[in-house]
């Protein structure tokens, strides 16, 4: 039990949960279930963030990701009224054949990534000191000011585009 009591133990547990939940997201049939799994995945990652000494990021993850973005998803799902059905018209090709290629590709990618990480002989360890919100804030509004401005423009653009596209078609000219 000491494994789980320690920070490392918690980290690996959260990581396991995140991976499993993500797998369920990707393979799920039911949209709502998948969304819920996504929430779990995000929360697990948030735990990881906290354990890695980034409480501010963990907070943002929970509030913005799990809180706001996922709500958007939920709204969208509600608008479509999607149930179990993944796609309405395209006949779903079941079985492994559809999965085989991408899985192979992904496996290759993973092997390569792991190989790279393994071979680069990273002897670094995470530190347990927190990087608190104050440090983040100073940096954010100091050297990264421009990035913040750009990000805000991006958000604005996202807002405008989201509004424009989601508008009922008959109101404006066709795209």
């Amino acid at each position: 039990m000491s494994l789980f009591a320690s920070i490392e133990g918690l980290f690996y547990l959260a990581a396991l949960i995140a991976v499993i939940a993500s797998l369920k997201v990707v393979t799920g049939k039911n949209t709502v279930h998948a969304l819920l799994y996504l929430v779990i995945s995000l929360l697990a990652v948030a735990v990881c963030f906290y354990l890695m000494g980034a409480p501010f990021a963990a907070g943002l993850e929970v509030i913005v990701y799990a809180g706001a973005i996922l709500v958007l998803f939920v709204f969208a799902v509600m608008m479509f009224g999607l149930g179990v059905d993944e796609t309405m018209h395209a006949p779903q090709s079941k079985g492994l054949s559809l999965w085989f290629g991408p899985m192979l590709l992904a496996a290759l990618l993973l092997i390569e990534l792991v190989f790279v990480i393994d071979n680069s002989e990273l002897k670094l360890q995470l530190s347990n000191k927190m990087v608190d919100a104050k440090q983040v804030g100073i940096l954010l509004y100091g050297p990264y000011l421009l990035a913040v401005e750009i990000a805000s423009f991006l958000l604005l653009a996202g807002l405008v585009a989201g509004y424009h596209y989601a508008k009922p078609e008959h109101q404006g000219r066709r795209l």
Partner: protein, 102 residues
């Protein structure tokens, strides 16, 4: 000092990333593709936070925040497009949208 090596964090990030990637490639449902994208973005966030934590710098978290903004904007636009698609084609099958072929 915790005993979590950076390598493990990066492996976690790679795992999540690959899972997300598989989702994007395999799923036909655009909604699921968007969710897989979220997973992938998240994976990148993990890597950044891990790196920030190693060197005790706040830059990693700032990068994460920028990714977050990106994700938010992307989801906003993506879902709006999804709604548009659902209206026009009555389906969320991404393969229906293949008019931009060469």
């Amino acid at each position: 000092m915790t005993d979590i090596p950076l390598a493990h964090v990066l492996i976690l990030s790679s795992l999540l990333f690959t899972i997300g990637f598989v989702g994007v490639v395999v799923r036909k449902n655009t909604l699921f593709m968007l969710m897989s994208l979220e997973v992938m973005l998240n994976a990148v966030g993990v890597a950044f936070i891990g790196a920030g934590s190693v060197w005790q710098e706040a830059d990693g978290q700032i990068m994460f925040m920028l990714i977050l903004t990106l994700a938010a904007a992307e989801v906003a636009v993506g879902l709006a497009l999804l709604i548009r698609m659902q209206r026009r084609y009555r389906t969320l099958d991404i393969d229906v949208l293949s008019k931009m072929k060469g």
